[in-house]
């Protein structure tokens, strides 16, 4: 009589379907417990009346969702979207050339990639504090500018939209560089040679061949920057002071200081729904895009 383990393995071996499920089970279980269930709890909270001492009471209400459509919160939502969008664009403009150079530099490629990833070795919080030291009135940036004689008075850099944007871009730039790097690295060099031999000058070659073929990386990078930027709160909190609140700060506040969990949950869901709608709209648009364009 073969052992239990033996028999289980034989059974799995004969059933590819069961085997696939068995392999999926651990990860799937993890996602159900730590992703799906919390989301469902949040959904439930967002639909329940607020308890007197925080928490919730039983019942169903849409008041938290309705409350979000207050001009005050809509202003925060608008700011969050605009800032995230601007941050994404700046990351793209700064990140694409970096990825391009890394791909081109055969010898230094690994070192440069290492440098791109290096910031992740320290916590984001510590790095954000470092940004404070850099940008505050008596910080390094101001003292350099003063010493160079470019300014007479220290500039107010910290707690301005600029400092928040700087923090966002700094924090998310690697997420833009890496996917673009990955798609550029796959680019077949003979395609570039073909373009050149067909008469494309460097500019045309870039816009007609390189850029379109690295578009998947650009899109992945933009999503990887835009979505976390929407939800970020640390940067706005530490570098923007209380003035530059983003949705992330609002949600965080509701869950901590304000102890209004239902409203925090509702705000989260609204942002989530907006992002999801945006991504789906994009995918739909991409599917409908004709695969080929005729020569008119």
């Amino acid at each position: 009589m073969p052992g239990l383990r033996e028999r289980m393995l034989t059974w799995l071996h004969r059933r590819p379907q069961a085997r696939a499920w068995a392999l999926l089970a651990p990860g799937g279980l993890w996602l159900v417990v730590f992703f799906l269930i919390p989301i469902l709890i949040m959904l439930a909270y967002s639909l329940m009346p607020r308890g007197v001492y925080g928490g919730v009471e039983s019942g169903v209400t849409l008041e938290h969702y309705a409350r979000f459509f207050d001009p005050l919160y809509l202003e925060i939502l608008k700011r969050t979207f605009l800032w995230s969008l601007a941050g994404t664009l700046i990351c793209l403009i700064l990140g694409y050339p970096v990825a391009f150079v890394i791909v081109r530099s055969k010898r230094w490629r690994n070192l440069l990639l290492f440098l791109v990833v290096l910031p992740f070795w320290t916590s984001f919080l510590v790095r954000t504090f470092a940004m404070i030291f850099l940008m505050r009135d008596t910080g390094l940036l101001n003292s350099w500018l003063l010493r160079l004689g470019l300014i007479q008075q220290p500039l107010t850099i910290l707690y301005t939209p600029f400092s928040v944007m700087a923090g966002l871009v700094y924090g998310f730039l690697p997420f833009m560089i890496l996917p673009i790097y990955a798609s550029l690295e796959k680019l077949d060099l003979s395609l570039l040679e073909a373009a050149e031999v067909l008469g494309a000058r460097p500019r045309a070659r870039f816009f007609r061949v390189t850029l379109p073929l690295s578009l998947p990386g650009v899109i992945a990078g933009c999503l990887l920057v835009f979505i976390p930027a929407l939800g970020s709160f640390l940067t706005a909190d530490l570098l923007g002071g209380a003035k530059q609140m983003m949705i992330g700060n609002l949600v965080q506040n509701q869950f901590s200081a304000a102890r209004n969990w239902p409203f925090g949950s509702a705000a989260s869901f609204i942002v989530m729904a907006l992002v999801l709608a945006g991504v789906m709209l994009y995918l739909r648009f991409q599917d409908q895009e004709p695969k080929s364009v005729t020569v008119q």
Binding site: D188, S190, L191, E193, A194, A195, E196, V197, L198, G199, A200, R201, A204, R208, V209, P212, L213, K291, S292, V293, T294, V295, Q296
Partner: protein
């Protein structure tokens, strides 16, 4: 080939050198290519043929020497500044553009009017026998290897270049289609009058299509000539071995009173060879003889006046069109003789392994090799 009233060459390489690190990829190559020629660069991998082509295309800059296209030195000109077009080994079709857009690419770069582009794309596709209505809107990913090859060809030809570079364009397609494409390329070359410069490692392909062939070895041109010159008069052992098959013999050259040259080794037989510049008294000389120029005879029946060696048949190999009779000759090794197959079922060869046999050939069929 002599060009007594030769037109000006369209392509000239003048003592061109190109090294990568310590490797001399192209080592002092000089050659002229004339308008409308089908010119092949042939050689094993690493012989410098692809680097030579890339020097012509402008992807590489020569370390020394001159690359001249249409009479103009273009050493430092970028590919888009040269009057060339190219078909790549892996086709290099733009995966994000349709067949029509791929073919139109070069015309668009040249700011050709749209109406003209459409018409020329259509004509180019027809030229490579791709039905425009069927293929124009397809994406490269939806095509077979042979179809991609045709699109790549159309994309290069639509520009009506003076010079078309082809980098092993048929390497990745199957034998039957390859044969077909060989003939099509050759007829396109003649029809359009475009100069084709064709890189290949396939000697049969080069012999089939080329007007002239430059056989390359370790960065140098080992021999340059028409297919017949290269095949029937290989200059070096490398060429004799790389193009077709050859049996090699070597020995000391000596001049007879009759004026004939003999090549042989002391104590062994000697072979009569035709007059050749490399022959001087006492020189060590190698000769090559093609298997199909030899015959197998009974040792006592060798025709008078022919060179002959005697051994025993080691093996007979059936190749379809021909039979290879391999004769082991003591002191010389194996000699391969190609015999026409007249049908082994109806008229079988009268030889079998183990038979004593003589291999004989005419003195003029000896190719005296240099170096």
């Amino acid at each position: 080939m002599t060009h007594s009233v030769a037109p000006a060459p369209v392509v000239q390489l003048v003592h061109v050198c190109k090294s990568f690190g310590f490797i001399k990829a192209v080592d002092d190559v000089s050659l002229d290519i004339y308008p409308g020629e089908f010119f092949s660069l042939l050689g094993p991998s690493g012989c410098g043929k692809t680097t030579t082509l890339r020097l012509l295309a402008g992807f590489e800059v020569p370390d020394a020497g001159q690359v001249r296209l249409l009479g103009e030195t273009v050493n430092h000109k970028r590919p888009y500044e040269r009057q060339i077009s190219m078909v790549f080994q892996n086709y290099a079709l733009f995966p994000h553009l349709s067949v029509a857009r791929n073919v139109a690419f070069g015309l668009e770069q040249r700011k050709t009017p749209r109406a003209t582009i459409e018409e020329r794309v259509e004509r180019a596709l027809e030229m490579v026998r791709l039905e425009p209505d069927v293929f124009a809107q397809r994406m490269p990913g939806q095509l077979s290897g042979g179809q991609r090859q045709r699109v790549a060809l159309a994309r290069a030809l639509v520009l009506e270049p003076a010079i078309l570079l082809l980098d092993e364009p048929l390497g990745a397609i199957d034998l039957k289609l390859r044969k077909e494409m060989q003939l099509e390329l050759k007829s396109l070359n003649k029809e359009l009058g475009t100069t084709f410069i064709y890189v290949t490692h396939d000697q049969e392909e080069a012999l089939t299509m080329s007007d002239r062939i430059a056989v390359m070895d370790v960065g140098r041109v080992a021999q340059l000539g028409t297919p017949a010159e290269i095949y029937e008069n290989p200059r070096t052992a490398f060429v004799a071995e790389f193009i077709g098959q050859s049996n090699f013999f070597e020995g000391q050259a000596s001049k007879q009173e009759s004026g004939e040259w003999l090549i042989g080794r002391p104590g062994e037989g000697a072979f009569k060879v035709p007059q050749h510049a490399a022959l001087t008294e006492g020189a060590h000389v190698r000769i090559a003889v093609r298997p199909e120029w030899m015959d197998v005879w009974r040792p006592e029946a060798v025709p008078p006046g022919e060179n002959a060696v005697i051994g025993s048949i080691r093996d007979i190999i059936y190749l379809g069109e021909t039979m290879h009779v391999i004769v082991a000759v003591p002191g010389l090794g194996d000699v391969t003789v190609a015999v026409r197959n007249e049908g082994q079922l109806m008229k079988p060869l009268s030889w079998k392994a183990g038979d004593r046999a003589a291999v004989a050939w005419l003195p003029e069929d000896c190719q005296v090799l240099e170096g």
